[in-house]
């Protein structure tokens, strides 16, 4: 006769076995996510499940902000109004000059046969909160794929680039800031057109220009703007100002640090630019061309 223990004593697999099971499951997910990006669909479903909680969690803060803005004093408003008026005047003048210059530039471009620069669509968005991850520098915007934003779009504020939209969920999206260690922006020195790549400096809040030759023509105070050759960022957006250049003869590369121009770590509103860019296709390399050309030739030989 078979003898089973009473159900009170049945407790499933041993704790260590369970730990091994769940730990290996987590490790598998980690590798899939970090190396192969296979877990994106799982992530979007889970993010949708967490979305209502996130919205409810934001309510008290939003309410406090609403109340404090309601009780803004009149003098403060008047002051701000005057400041904005003055700034509007200044920018209006700049805008008129810009229009004239843009018309002239497009005329000249037509003359030399270059493709006309397309106007990018932009979408204003509010920064909800900074990402809850001390290891990276991200903010969450209140626009998601339902509103038409796409991963990869550049994000700017009124001064310059603040980062790139790296993940679009249904109703919110994540922006990786310029200062994140994993973000690189192709830039150009405004003074002499020297191209470089700016990497985020992490916790220091600075940008680093890596792989700059020790004798590169770059100085303190140089302005860096996007070069636009990557097709992601439109050219000419301010990115950073160089604050320190260290040239050490014992290293091949100079150490160049730059301070972001835009309010990367502050500010409430941002503009998401569309990432559509009209880039010509890559030219076929010699390696690609070789066998194809040979094949074509062989076909010709067969045909004849």
């Amino acid at each position: 006769m078979e003898h089973n223990p009473p159900p009170f004593f049945v407790r499933g697999p041993a704790p260590l076995v369970r730990l091994a099971f769940f730990a290996s499951l987590s490790l598998a997910l980690l590798v899939l996510d970090a190396r192969f990006h296979y877990a994106d669909s799982v992530r979007s479903v889970l993010a949708l499940a967490a979305y209502p909680l996130q919205q409810v969690a934001r309510l008290p803060v939003a309410a406090a902000e609403g109340i404090s803005s309601y009780f803004t004093s009149q003098s403060q408003l008047r002051e701000e109004n005057e400041l904005l008026r003055a700034r509007l005047l200044a920018t209006a003048q700049g805008a008129q000059r810009f229009e004239a210059a843009a018309a002239e530039a497009s005329h000249l471009r037509r003359l030399i046969g270059a493709a006309e620069r397309i106007e990018r669509k932009s979408m204003p968005a509010e920064i909800l909160y900074s990402g809850r991850d001390p290891y990276s520098r991200k903010v969450i915007l209140d626009r998601g794929s339902q509103h038409g934003v796409r991963a990869g779009s550049p994000v700017v504020d009124e001064i310059g680039v603040i980062g790139q939209l790296t993940r679009a969920h249904a109703f919110v999206s994540e922006v990786t800031l310029l200062t994140d260690k994993d973000l690189a922006v192709p830039v150009q020195v405004l003074r002499n057109g020297l191209r470089a790549i700016a990497f985020g400096g992490g916790a220091s809040g600075m940008l680093e220009l890596r792989y700059m030759a020790a004798n590169a023509d770059i100085e303190n105070g140089d302005q860096l703007v996007t070069s636009g050759i990557d097709g992601t960022y439109p050219p000419g957006l301010p990115v950073a100002g160089v604050v320190r250049v260290e040239r050490d003869a014992s290293y091949t590369f100079a150490r160049v640090l730059a301070q972001p121009s835009a309010g990367v770590e502050r500010g409430r509103y941002a503009l998401v630019l569309s990432s559509e860019a009209r880039l010509p296709p890559y030219p076929e390399s010699a390696a690609d061309k070789g066998p194809k050309a040979r094949k074509a030739k062989r076909k010709d030989a067969d045909g004849s």
Binding site: L16, F22, D33, A50, L53, V56, A57, G131, R132, D133
Partner: protein, 172 residues
């Protein structure tokens, strides 16, 4: 719950209480904290509490699912918190009988170690994935969470400490 102190006989816990406490902890976690490193991880704290108090109801499976939710909500690597919380649940269950024997201060010391260990697992995962070390303030969050342990104990045991209705005709 030492031998020389009076003990309450608690009512059996309801699954609804546990679920509601986890939802509340997730809510608190998703609050827009100004400094992330100093903010306590409420989910880890609640998980440690239930693993210590109810090791047969809350275990590694719930820890893993909670970890995945936190990962997706925070937008970090999927599996980072799942791994850390599974380890936390395992250690808390293994230590549950020992921890309950201590008074509040002794319990807090154990919980501090558990939570710092959780943070250490997450740190190891991120360093392996190529992130840089974000600074020692990372270990201040578990300190803040440990300081909340007495409050959490008081709050989460409240539903089980309901006074029994007085019955005049009871024999004893």
């Amino acid at each position: 719950m030492g031998p020389d102190r009076p003990q309450y006989i608690l009512l059996p816990v309801r699954a609804g209480t546990i679920a509601a406490s986890f939802v509340a902890a997730l809510l608190l976690n998703f609050l827009p904290w100004p400094d992330l490193a100093l903010a306590p991880d409420f989910v880890a704290l609640t998980l440690a509490f239930w693993c210590v108090r109810q090791p047969r109801l809350v275990g590694l499976a719930s820890a893993w699912v909670l970890g995945l939710l936190v990962d997706a909500g925070n937008g970090v690597l999927l599996g980072q918190h799942a791994l850390a919380y599974s380890t936390l649940a395992f250690c808390a269950i293994a230590l549950s009988r020992r921890i309950l024997w201590f008074e509040t201060w002794g319990q807090m010391l154990h919980v501090l170690l558990l939570l710092e260990g959780t943070q250490l697992v997450a740190l190891g995962v991120r360093l392996a994935a190529g992130a840089e070390f974000p600074g020692w303030s990372l270990f201040a969050g578990p300190l803040a969470a440990t300081a909340l342990w007495p409050a959490v104990t008081w709050l989460l045991l409240m539903p089980q400490r309901r006074p029994v209705a007085i019955d005049e005709n009871r024999p004893i």
